[in-house]
C-alpha cells in the first residue's frame, strides 16, 4: 500500500475524495429539484480533477528530469510543457458549456465546482497537519 504522504498516495486520496463527491452530486442531481446546480458542480469538479491530473503528470515529469531518467514517450513532456494552457482551455470549455446551455448547467455552480478541488487540497493539508500533531 502506498504511503499517503507520497505523491502517488496523495493523488490516490484526492481521486477517492473527488469520486465520492462526484457520486454524491450525481445522486443529488437525480433526486433533488436543483438539477442545474448539481450538474454544474459535477462538471466543474470533473474538469478541476482533470486539471489536477495534468499537474500530477507534470510533477512526475519534473521528478524524472531531476533524476535524469529517460522516458521513451514524449507525451508526458508535452503534457507537462503545455499543462497550464491545457488547464486554462479545459476551464474555459467548462464555463463556455455552462454559458451556452444555461437551462442544463448553472454558471456559478460550475465555477464553484472548479474551485472545489482547491478546498479538497487545503482540507487534506489540514488533516495531515492535525494528524502530525
Amino acid at each position: 500500500m502506498s504511503n499517503m504522504t507520497s505523491l502517488e498516495g496523495k493523488m490516490k486520496q484526492h481521486t477517492i475524495t473527488t469520486s465520492i463527491l462526484l457520486v454524491l452530486f450525481l445522486v443529488l442531481f437525480l433526486i433533488t429539484p436543483l438539477q442545474t446546480q448539481f450538474l454544474g458542480l459535477a462538471l466543474g469538479l470533473s474538469v478541476s480533477f482533470l486539471n489536477l491530473w495534468t499537474t500530477y503528470r507534470k510533477t512526475q515529469v519534473v521528478g524524472m528530469v531531476a533524476d535524469r531518467k529517460r522516458k521513451q514517450s514524449f507525451l508526458p513532456f508535452i503534457l507537462a510543457g503545455f499543462g497550464f494552457g491545457i488547464r486554462i482551455i479545459l476551464t474555459i470549455a467548462a464555463v463556455y458549456l455552462a454559458l451556452i446551455y444555461p437551462d442544463k448547467l448553472d454558471v456559478i455552480s460550475v465555477i464553484a465546482g472548479l474551485a472545489l478541488i482547491y478546498v479538497i487540497i487545503i482540507l487534506d493539508m489540514l488533516v495531515q497537519f492535525v494528524r502530525k500533531r
Partner: protein, 70 residues
Amino acid sequence: MSLLGAAIAAGLAAVGGSIAVAIIVKATLEGVTRQPELRGTLQTLMFIGVPLAEAVPIIAIVISFLLLFS
C-alpha cells in the same frame, strides 16, 4: 471597455501564474538535485503548491471570459 478589462485580467493572470509555477518548479528541481533522497517529499510539496498557485490565475481567466460574454 470590457474587452480591454478581460484582456488585461487574462494577461496579468497568465503572467502571475507562470511566474509562480516557474518558481515552484525551479525550487523543486534545485532541491532534488541537491538532495535526491528528498525527491518524494519535494514532489509532493510541488504537487500541492502548483495547483494552489494556479488557482487565482484560472479564476481570473474565468472572470475575464465571463466579462467577454456579459
